[in-house]
C-alpha cells in the first residue's frame, strides 16, 4: 500500500513533466498542424541551461535554494522560449505554405542539429545537477516517506498547466490562439495577427518545455544530451493519447502516461517499461482514433 502511494506520486511527477512537454507539441500542432520534432531537444537544452546557470554563474553558492531555483527556472524559460521563436522563424515559417512532409523533415533536421549542438557544447557524457540544489527532504504522507521534490514537481507543473489553461480560456489573446487553431483564415479575417499567435505559441511551448527540463535535472539529478529523444517521444505520445491539438488533452494524456508507465514498470515488467506507453497508445487509437479528448471533425465533401 505504501509502495503503491509512492508509485502514484512518482507517476504523477513524471506525468507532470510529460504533460508540460506535451503542451508544447499540442499547441504547435493545434495552430500549425506541425509536429515540432525539435521540441524534445529544446527541453534538453532547458535542462543544460539550468545546469550552466546553477553551476557556472555561481548561483548555487550565493543564494538560498528556493530563490536560486526560481530565478534559474525563469531564466531558462525565457531562453528556451527565445530559442523556440528563432526556430520557428528559421526552420518552419518558410515552409508554412509547403506540404506537411517537408515541414516534418525540417523539424527532424532541427532536432538533429540541436541534439548535436548540445553534445558539442556540453559534451557527450551525462552531467549531474549540484546536490545543494536538490532538496533531499522526505515528507511523511499517510505513513509513507515521499521525496519533497516529487511533490513540488507535481505542484509546479499543475500550477503552470492551470495558468496556461486560464490564459487560453480567459484572455483575449488566449481566445485568439484558440481561434487560430480552429481556422487560421477566418481568424485572420477577424483581425487576428496569426503570425503573432504562431510566434506566441512557439514561445510558450518551448518555455514550458525548458522548465520541464530543469525539473528533470532537479528531480533525477542526471541529464544527458539525448534525453530529449525519449522524453519528447513520450510527451508527444501523451499529446496524441489525449487528442492532439487539445490543451486539456495534453495535460490528461501526460499525467495518464506517467502513471501507466510508472505503475506498469513497478508491477508488471521493468524491461518493457518504454514499450508500455506505446502499446497503450496503439490500443487507444484503435478504439478512439482521435485520442481521448480529441474531437472528430466530419470532413466536408
Amino acid at each position: 500500500m505504501d509502495q503503491l502511494f509512492l508509485q502514484l506520486v512518482n507517476g504523477l511527477a513524471v506525468g507532470g513533466i510529460y504533460a508540460l512537454v506535451a503542451l508544447g507539441y499540442t499547441m504547435v500542432y493545434g495552430v500549425l498542424k506541425l509536429i515540432n520534432f525539435a521540441h524534445g531537444d529544446l527541453f534538453t537544452i532547458g535542462a543544460y541551461l539550468g545546469l550552466t546557470l546553477f553551476v557556472g554563474m555561481g548561483l548555487a553558492g550565493t543564494l538560498t535554494v528556493f530563490p536560486a531555483v526560481l530565478s534559474v527556472a525563469v531564466m531558462v524559460m525565457g531562453l528556451t522560449a527565445l530559442l523556440g521563436g528563432v526556430l520557428e522563424r528559421v526552420a518552419y515559417r518558410p515552409l508554412r505554405k509547403a506540404g506537411r512532409l517537408s515541414a516534418v523533415v525540417s523539424a527532424l533536421g532541427a532536432s538533429i542539429f540541436f541534439q548535436n549542438a548540445v553534445m558539442l557544447v556540453w559534451g557527450a557524457n551525462y552531467e549531474v545537477y549540484p546536490e545543494v540544489m536538490r532538496p533531499s527532504t522526505v515528507i511523511f504522507l499517510f505513513g509513507t516517506g515521499v521525496p519533497l521534490i516529487r511533490l513540488l514537481i507535481i505542484g509546479v507543473s499543475l500550477m503552470l498547466m492551470l495558468s496556461l489553461y486560464g490564459f487560453i480560456h480567459h484572455t483575449r489573446t488566449g481566445t485568439a490562439v484558440r481561434a487560430a487553431a480552429i481556422d487560421q483564415g477566418a481568424a485572420a479575417l477577424m483581425g487576428i495577427n496569426v503570425n503573432r499567435i504562431i510566434t506566441l505559441v512557439f514561445l510558450i511551448g518551448p518555455g514550458l518545455g525548458g522548465v520541464a527540463g530543469v525539473m528533470v535535472g532537479l528531480s533525477y539529478g542526471q541529464i544527458d544530451f539525448s534525453m530529449g529523444f525519449s522524453y519528447g517521444l513520450k510527451a508527444f505520445t501523451a499529446a496524441v493519447l489525449g487528442g492532439i491539438g487539445n490543451i486539456p488533452g495534453a495535460m490528461l494524456g501526460g499525467m495518464l502516461l506517467g502513471l501507466i508507465e510508472t505503475l506498469g514498470s513497478a508491477y508488471l515488467t521493468i524491461a518493457w517499461k518504454d514499450a508500455i506507453s506505446f502499446l497503450v497508445l496503439i490500443l487507444i487509437l484503435i478504439i478512439r482514433p482521435t485520442g481521448i479528448l480529441g474531437e472528430r471533425t466530419a470532413e466536408k465533401l
Binding site: R100, I112, F236, T237, A271, F278, L279, I282
Partner: protein, 334 residues
C-alpha cells in the same frame, strides 16, 4: 492541335533516356574499380540505404502514408534471415523471399487496425511500433533474438558457387538489386496499382469516390514496402554477419523518412535521397564530431529551398498515338 505534339515529346525523352541509362550503368559498374576499400564499403551501405529508401518510397512517397517506423520491417527481415541461417543453415539468398514475406506479413497484421488513422496519428503509431520491436529484440523474445548483443555468425551469400565476401562483390549484388527494384517499381508506377496509390496520396476521399478501395491499396502499399524492406534486411544481415537491435532504431527510420522526402517521391528521387542521407555524413567527415550538426542544418536548408523534394515524380505520359482521334465533343454547338 499544338498539345497533341506532346505525345511525341515522350519518345524524344525516351531517346535521350536510353543512352543516359547505358552511361549510368557503365559508370556504376566501373566505379568500384576506382574506389579504395573504404569508399567501396560506403557505397555498399548507400546501396542498402537506397533499397530501403525505395521500399519506403512505395508507402510514403507514392501512397502518402506517414510511416516513420520502417526500421521495424527491416529488422524483421534481418532477424528472420539471421535466425534461420544460424540455426538451420538455410542459405541466405534462399531466405530473401522468406524474409520479405515475413516482414510483409507482419506489416499487414500490424497495419490492418491502424491504416484508417489520419496522417500524424499513423506517424506516431509507426514510431511506437519501431520502438516496441526494438525493445522486444533487446528483451530476447522467445530466446531467439539474442538480446542486446544480437545474433552473430550469419553466413555470406553464395551465387553460382561464388561466395560473396568482399565489399566489391557486395557492391555489385546490392546495386544490382537497386537497379532491379527501380525497374520493377517504375513499371508499377505506370500501372493501375501505381495510379491508385497516387490518387490516394493526393486525395483519398476523391480516390474512394472514383472507385478505388482506399484501405485495400494502402495495405497493399504497406505490405509491398515491408516485403522489400525485409529483403533488404536479409542482404544487410548477410553483409554484416552480425546484427543487433542498435541497427533498427527510431533514428534509422527517421533517416529513411528524410531520404524519401528529400527525394520527392520518384524512384530516382528515392535513390538520390539515400545518397544524401547516407552519403553526406561521410563527406562531412572532415567536420569530425560536428558532422551530424552540419547534416541537421543541411536537412533543414534543403527542405526550405526545395520543399517538394529534389526529384518529384514527373507527369506520367501515355502513348495515345494508336487511337484514331477527331470525334466531336458532346457539348460542341450544333
Amino acid at each position: 492541335m499544338l498539345k497533341r505534339s506532346g505525345t511525341t515529346s515522350g519518345t524524344i525523352l525516351q531517346r535521350v533516356k536510353f543512352p543516359a541509362l547505358v552511361a549510368l550503368t557503365a559508370l556504376a559498374a566501373g566505379l568500384p574499380l576506382t574506389l579504395n576499400p573504404y569508399w567501396t564499403a560506403v557505397f555498399v551501405s548507400i546501396g542498402l540505404g537506397a533499397l530501403l529508401s525505395l521500399s519506403l518510397n512505395v508507402i510514403l512517397g507514392r501512397a502518402g502514408i506517414f510511416n516513420m517506423g520502417h526500421a521495424a520491417f527491416y529488422a524483421v527481415g534481418a532477424y528472420v534471415t539471421a535466425i534461420l541461417n544460424t540455426r538451420f543453415q538455410v542459405p541466405v539468398l534462399w531466405l530473401l523471399p522468406v524474409a520479405g514475406a515475413a516482414s510483409g506479413l507482419c506489416a499487414l497484421l500490424v497495419a490492418r487496425p491502424i491504416i484508417h488513422l489520419r496522417g500524424d496519428y499513423l506517424l506516431i503509431v509507426t514510431v511506437g511500433i519501431v520502438e516496441i520491436v526494438r525493445i522486444a529484440l533487446i528483451n530476447d523474445v522467445g530466446g531467439l533474438t539474442g538480446g542486446a548483443n544480437g545474433i552473430f555468425g550469419i553466413a555470406r551469400p553464395e551465387i553460382f558457387g561464388i561466395r560473396i565476401r568482399r565489399d566489391i562483390q557486395f557492391y555489385y549484388l546490392v546495386w544490382g538489386a537497386v537497379a532491379l527494384t527501380v525497374a520493377l517499381f517504375s513499371r508499377l508506377d505506370r500501372s493501375r496499382v501505381g495510379r491508385a496509390l497516387s490518387c490516394i496520396k493526393e486525395d483519398d476521399t476523391a480516390a474512394e469516390g472514383c472507385g478505388i478501395d482506399v484501405a485495400r491499396y494502402k495495405l497493399l502499399a504497406f505490405g509491398l514496402g515491408a516485403f522489400w524492406a525485409g529483403m533488404a534486411g536479409a542482404l544487410f544481415a548477410a553483409k554484416m554477419t552480425i546484427i543487433s537491435p542498435g541497427s533498427f532504431t527510431f533514428w534509422d527510420s527517421v533517416l529513411l523518412f528524410a531520404a524519401v522526402t528529400l527525394g520527392g517521391g520518384s524512384q530516382t528521387g528515392a535513390v538520390l535521397g539515400a545518397f544524401l542521407v547516407f552519403g553526406l555524413p561521410e563527406i562531412f567527415r572532415d567536420f569530425a564530431s560536428a558532422r551530424m550538426l552540419v547534416f541537421g542544418l543541411a536537412l533543414m536548408a534543403m527542405m526550405v529551398v526545395r520543399p517538394q523534394g529534389l526529384l518529384p515524380p514527373a507527369l506520367r505520359r501515355y502513348d495515345t498515338r494508336f487511337i484514331t482521334r477527331g470525334e466531336r465533343a458532346a457539348g460542341d454547338g450544333e
